[in-house]
Every structure is written in structure tokens, then in C-alpha cells.
Amino acid sequence: MSGDCFSIFTLLRQAWTGQGGLKPMWREPEPKSAYDAVIVGGGGHGLATAYYLAKEHGMSNIAVLEKGWIGSGNVGRNTTIVRSNYLLPGNIPFYEHSLKLWEGLEQEINYNAMVSQRGVINLFHSDAQRDDHVRRGNAMRLHGVDAVLLDREGVRQRAPFLDFDHARFPIHGGLLQPRGGTVRHDAVAWGYARAADRRGVDIVQNCAVTGIRVEAGRVIGVETSRGLIRAPRVGLACAGNSSRVAAMAGLRLPIESHVLTAFVSEALKPLINTVITFGAGHFYISQSDKGGLVFGASIDGYNSYAQRGNLPTIEDSCEEAMALIPALGRLRLLRHWSGIMDMSMDGSPIIDRTPIAGLYLNAGWCIGGFKATPASGWCFAHLIARDTPHPVAAAYRLDRFATGHLLDEAGTGADVTMH
């Protein structure tokens, strides 16, 4: 077997031979002067897009241009949760398509992405919140998505360590999506990169796009730190940097960039075998296979490109952790880190054409775009190859902010700190 595949036998052999026989998982090509299409941004979405362009649409003379190294953005910074427990008809089919692609991903790309369908439980703490969760669960089931309403005892069976009788936020029950769970995030970047590379896609790292060339209303290529690269189709998948890159083509987006922080604790013996979200704040927790508790909360709440958050958010997250699981009080945090979120004004993404022919936009993922990675790549590839939106992403239009066809899951309006 070749040195970029891993079986138990290659791993054992390498252990005895100093790991010297492993090949890089993808090439490091010099960028060509022209491609049939280029994708800007080597995060999960850009790499998945390239893979599906090659696999599903037979376009292999394409490149992914990444300013740093692949996986250095949000795809390597998130808390790895995947689910399709949405409410709106414009969202559910897209996220369910994504979850189905996750279910087959490891076979598809022959890569262990540690897809773990350990379930996701959204807790509720009042009667009104229960009604809200019942409504969401019913919307999911009407779309053929799995949803189970748990009462208090049902939650207790799965997570006896929660503070059920918290004076202010007692736990009344939860909405469980059994097929939700976690996926090893950087393996997703690496796996898609290797699979795309094998189909001939050039993955060009350390190649920052610095300009977008437009002639007569049509994109003709991109200027980069490594020279001009011509392409009749350019797809932008730059997550937190979407506004900056779109501005190179004169576009102003309905997006603000904000910082989101996540945490991991020291390793514990198995404690939490599912994903739990606190309904009275914005906090969620799971346990990694290494034993660390992984948790996150809200964005700091001010414009930022710093990839570094501030202490009040950390304090706030820890207070929420304590309100939910008092037993965490003596646990130490090992690390925290942040990423830059492309917060759209209605909390939903954009996968669409732009007013410039041949220029396509994939942005606005807010704090939840990791779960979307496979479907985002699938639908963006479809859009770029055929110049028509994929049916499950048809609601993710750029002009919805002008036409009023918003997709506001949280119903909070154009205030990104509320999404």
C-alpha cells in the first residue's frame, strides 16, 4: 500500500522503521498561470468544494489557493459538533444533506475522520422553551430528520451529572437528535485535501489572494502573492475574511467578522458520552476521545479579526459550565483559542452567484459552519460547475436581504450578537 494510506499494518511497520516511509498526503505544486476554476480559501468548505468539483463534475484543472496552511482557519479551530436540528424549511434539507454526507464521508474519502454519532441534546428549562423545542422537533420530523423529545428523566438517564434542580434554570427535558455528534475537524481538512489532490486538484498553500481581476463585468482571475492566476470561475470560501476578499471585487456584504472562543480541559475519565447544550445561555459541552472536555459559548460580541478573545467571555463560559455541571468546579482549563466568524445579518449562510459573472460566494457561516462542510462543498461545487444553485441550498441567496426572504432561525433580526 502506498505511503499516504494508513492501515494497522503500515502504522505498525512505520513504528519499527522510524516513520521514515510515509509520503506527504498531498503535493505542493507551484501554481499554474491558469485554471478552469480557482477556489479562494483552503478551509473545510474550500477543500470540500474542490473535491466535489473534481469528483461530481469532472473538473480537475482547478486549484485551491490558501493564504496560510490548510486547516489553519476555522476548520481547525471549531468544537467539532455536527447536527441537522434546524427549524426553517430553507435550512433543514441542507443540513440534513450534510449529515448524510458525514455518515458516508470516511468511506468516500478513505480517511478516518472519527465521525461519532453520539447524539446532541438541546436542554430546555421552562414550559415555553419546551414548546419551542417541540416545534423544532416536529419541523425536523416533517422533513424526515430524527428528533426525540426527552423528559427530565430521559435526560437524567443520559447525563446524571447535570444540575437538574438549579434554582434559576431547572432542567425540564431536552430535544435529542440521535444522529448528531462530533467529527475530528482537522482530519476533515486533511482527508478532503488528500482526496482532492488525488483527483488532480492543485492545493496551493502560502498563496494569499490580493486582488480579483474583473473585465466587462466578468471575473478573469485573481492576483496572488505568487502572481496572477487566470480563471473564468472563481469561488470565494474565506469564512471570517469574506468581507475583505469580496471587497477586492467591490462587493459589500451583509456580514460582520466576530471572534469566537473555545476551550478544552485537562483529560478526564469518560464522563459525557453525548453533546449537551445549555438552553438558558449559550453554552455546549462534549468530551473528546483524549478525555478533555471541549466547550464553547458565544462570540465576544464586537468586530474582530484578531483570532484572540477576551477574559469576560472566558469567565462567562465558565459560569455557564458551573450552572450546568457543578462537578466541573475543580477542573483546570488546558487551552483556549479563537477563530473569526463570518456573522451574516440573519444568521444563515450565502451560497450564491454575485453581480460579477463567474464570481461565486460561499460565506456567512456564523458560528456553525463546520457541520455544513460536506454539503457546502457539494452545493458550491454544483453552483460553480453549472452556474445554477443546488436545490437544497436555493434559499441561501445573496439578494435575500434586499427582497426580504430572510432565513432568521433565531428570529432576532439584524443583530449578529443575538444569533
Binding site: 468581507s243 456584504l253 468586530n303 484578531a306 477574559l311 469576560p312 445579518m345 436581504f401 439584524a414
Partner: protein
Amino acid sequence: MRIPCPHCGDRSHDEFSYGGAADRRRPTTADFGPEWLDYVYLRDNPAGLHRELWYHGSGCRCWLIVERNTLSHAITAVHAVLPASSPAMEDA
């Protein structure tokens, strides 16, 4: 991140609420069109200097205009939206 409030001094940012970009202007027309689209939904979202509003809710209860670098979080200027002697200030 600490915001040097002109009335209260250096305070942690969690005493404040964020009000977004400072220079958006509410359109004068009542009809929804490009001006309202721009005002409600579109943002400059710069990487670098940003003029933005913060409300000091746990302090002087005044709105401030803060000039802050979104790449480093460094704050270079802060001033109150209303002059200190305005009636709104005396109510607070």
C-alpha cells in the same frame, strides 16, 4: 480589552454593550430600497481601524464612539456621543 471611558476611566469591556459601526446613518426615506438595505444589512467590516459605538451600561450610561483596531483590539480614541453638559447626561 479595557475601554478608557471619558467619564469613568479604564473599564473592562463587559461593562459596555456593543452598538456596531458608528457612522451608519438612518435613511430619511420611508420606502425600503437600496438605502435601507445598506443601513440595516450591509457592513464595511474593516480589518483595521473601526469607528464603533459602545454603551457604558454599568457605568455612566453614556454612548461612546470608540476608535479601535479590529486586528489588534488596540483603542486609539474614545469620546462621548453627547457633550457632558447635555440634558441626556443630567438624566443619567
